[in-house]
């Protein structure tokens, strides 16, 4: 009887609505992951604090919009500023002094930031409390024609924002001088320096851009999950998985990877319900499969940085 029920859950409507929800959260993983890859390509540092930076900025938005009652737009603005500031501080004062040090040291520094930010947020906003979401778009939705599936306006907004930001990032890299300089630093910092690129400034800028993307992802994901400092900090795992799908270098593949990841982790919820952690098992499997399948190509990607 139970099995029949579980199988019965796989209706077209169910699959479609879970897929839509998966695409929406997947877009946000993709945003965080794009920031992660961006920072990694330009500065060569994999930022394990990416989720924590986004988390901290998100809670600043929560403070402004929910606690102080300001309009949601102001909260988002606060998150963007805090995200950029964190990105700058982390790079300028704790990553730049480590130039020439082994990768492990830089990774540990970002882990230190993860711990510090998560702890501060836990102290200020509480790790287990319920937090009301910062909503930019109304909760309502519309019916897909013909089928009884509701797509939320917030889900649609997330998808549009992600696509626009991804295209904007691509345009920035392709058509602007700063983008050209960023690509130059990503390819070879020393050659860039010879051509007059201010490598330090470009690196700073990439950390700020990447951190702002984490902040946007964090704020936008609040309506979809029960958001706590820990839950948002863990998003770095999703971002890392999506980034791995893009070989840690490709921005378009990372975008696709994030969306696929969102769907893959959402579909097991149809038969299992929201059994704790089944989604993190899905993410884990994705990471393992990608690492085992792509080991060689990843190795060369890492070596060129």
């Amino acid at each position: 009887m139970h099995e029949a029920l579980a199988l019965g859950n796989f209706t077209v409507g169910n699959i479609l609505s879970y897929t839509a929800a998966g695409i929406a959260t997947g877009c946000l993983y993709a945003l965080a992951a794009l920031g992660l890859v961006f920072i990694f390509r330009v500065s060569g540092v994999l930022n394990f604090g990416q989720g924590a930076v986004g988390m901290f900025a998100t809670f600043c938005a929560y403070q402004v919009s929910i606690q102080w009652g300001a309009p949601a737009v102001l909260g988002v603005l606060a998150a963007l500023v805090v995200g950029a500031a964190l990105g700058y501080v982390i790079e300028r004062f704790t990553i730049r002094p480590l130039e020439g040090k082994p990768t492990v040291a830089k990774v540990i520094v970002t882990v230190g930031w993860l711990l510090a930010l998560q702890q501060v947020a836990g102290i200020i906003w509480g790790n287990n409390a319920y937090h009301q979401a910062v909503r930019l778009v109304s909760k309502a939705g519309f019916n897909l024609p013909g089928i009884d599936v509701v797509i939320g306006y917030d889900q649609l907004a997330v998808i549009i924002i992600t696509v626009v930001l991804a295209l904007g990032l691509a345009a920035l890299l392709r058509y602007t001088t700063i983008g050209l300089q960023m690509r130059a630093v990503a390819d070879s910092p020393s050659t860039g320096k010879l051509w007059g690129v201010r490598v330090n400034r470009i690196t700073s800028l990439s950390w700020m851009t990447g951190s702002v993307m984490a902040a946007i992802a964090g704020v936008l994901i609040t309506p979809f999950i029960n958001f706590t400092p820990t839950a948002l900090t863990i998003i770095v795992i999703h971002a890392l998985a999506a980034a791995l799908i893009g070989n840690l270098v490709s921005l378009p593949l990372t975008l696709v990877g994030g969306i696929v990841l969102g769907v893959v982790e959402n579909l097991p919820r149809i038969p299992f319900g929201s059994v704790g952690g089944i989604d993190s098992a899905a993410v884990f499997i994705v990471i393992l499969v990608v690492l085992l399948a792509r080991a060689k190509r990843l190795a060369s990607a890492v070596r060129t940085v």
Partner: protein, 346 residues
């Protein structure tokens, strides 16, 4: 005479001048402070976890963010076997250590062809998936006894000596396991394996050109590291008189904290494990009881100290101490040696 002294102080054996008194302190500390016995036992349990990172990160340069997961697996296997399968802890503990070592080797497999970043990603993913899923879900009830979790893992007896409800004897058991692990790690470091691992850390290409079997030694390091963490877990399984094991000490933040502490104290040095254990347990006591800092702020101070340390003193606490010691010795040496040779001449 003074020259001989300075040679002795500067030699690699000088560590025994520290280790033997430290062991003596360890032996008398337990009986001297009965109300501290359990916390002191925790120092050894945490020290084992730090030591497990010395093997992995210190010897091979690989980074792991899931040592608390290995510890948790060891604790659940040992606790489960003792509480529900009627095994003695003496049998259950080696099984737990083997299980943790097996997981360590499995986690290490993807790192065989890669190093550094990929391993950090995999281990963080392992820490999160065990924290969010494996340790809590009823799907793994056969291991964790979720949702009520393991209870009733009794401490063993040794030659008629009862450990149950005897905190001092348990203290000595933990001390013995810790000292044993320290000796094993020291022997590994000084032996062929240690030399190979350091060669691997410094250059994988050069090592493989020289005919070293990278795969075997990397997996060995993973296995040994996870085994030590598993031993720490096996002790944790019988830490409480009720013999209860719950998943809360094994969350991913604790894994990250242990890595932070290990790097902070100096992950390249075996004696740092002792400092790491003390720091893990007593920094909190010091900060809250003596300095009156709110409990919540303690991990934050540790994280900030970690970031500052990597930027300012990359070799960690023990590394900085060691460096100061040797530079003091070197500054003294030119003065001592001519004076000594003068005395011999006269």
């Amino acid at each position: 005479m003074r020259r001989g002294m300075s040679l002795l102080l500067g030699s690699p054996r000088a560590v025994w001048l520290l280790a033997i008194p430290a062991l003596a302190v360890g032996i008398v500390l337990g009986p001297l402070f009965p109300q501290q016995q359990l916390t002191l036992t925790d120092v050894f349990i945490a020290g084992l976890l730090v030591l497990s990172l010395v093997v992995l990160t210190g010897f091979t340069g690989q980074i792991s963010l899931c040592q608390a997961t290995f510890q948790g697996l060891g604790a659940f296997v040992a606790g489960n076997l003792v509480a529900y399968h009627g095994l003695s802890w003496w049998v259950a503990a080696p099984v737990a250590i083997a299980a943790a070592a097996l997981l360590g080797v499995l986690v290490g497999l993807p790192a065989l062809r890669l190093r550094g970043l990929q391993l950090a990603i995999v281990t963080l993913a392992v820490a999160v998936v065990f924290d969010n899923y494996v340790f809590y879900t009823p799907h793994f009830r056969w291991l964790t006894h979720a949702p009520e979790f393991v209870a009733g893992a009794r401490r063993p007896t040794l030659l008629g000596l009862e450990f149950q409800n005897r905190p001092l004897r348990f203290y000595y058991l933990a001390l013995a396991v810790f000292v044993l692990a320290l000796l094993v790690v020291r022997n590994v470091r000084r032996g062929k394996t240690g030399r190979v691992l350091r060669a691997l850390r410094d250059s994988e290409v050069a090592s493989s050109v020289n005919g070293l079997d990278l795969t075997r030694y990397k997996l060995l390091a993973f296995g040994l590291s996870a085994a030590i963490a598993g031993a720490s877990g096996a002790l944790l399984a019988i830490r409480f008189d009720a013999g209860s094991v719950s998943p809360s000490p094994f969350d991913f933040v604790h894994s990250l904290n242990i890595t932070a502490i290990a790097v902070l104290v100096g992950v390249n040095f075996i004696p740092a494990a002792v400092i790491g254990g003390i720091l893990d347990r007593y920094f909190q006591v010091l900060a809250t009881d003596v300095l009156h800092i709110a409990f919540d702020w303690v991990p934050l101070i540790l994280a900030a100290a970690l970031i500052a340390q990597i930027v300012l003193a990359p070799e960690g606490l023990w590394g900085a101490l060691r460096h100061t010691y040797y530079s003091l010795l070197a500054r003294g040496a030119p003065k001592i040696l001519p004076a000594g040779s003068g005395a011999e001449g006269g």
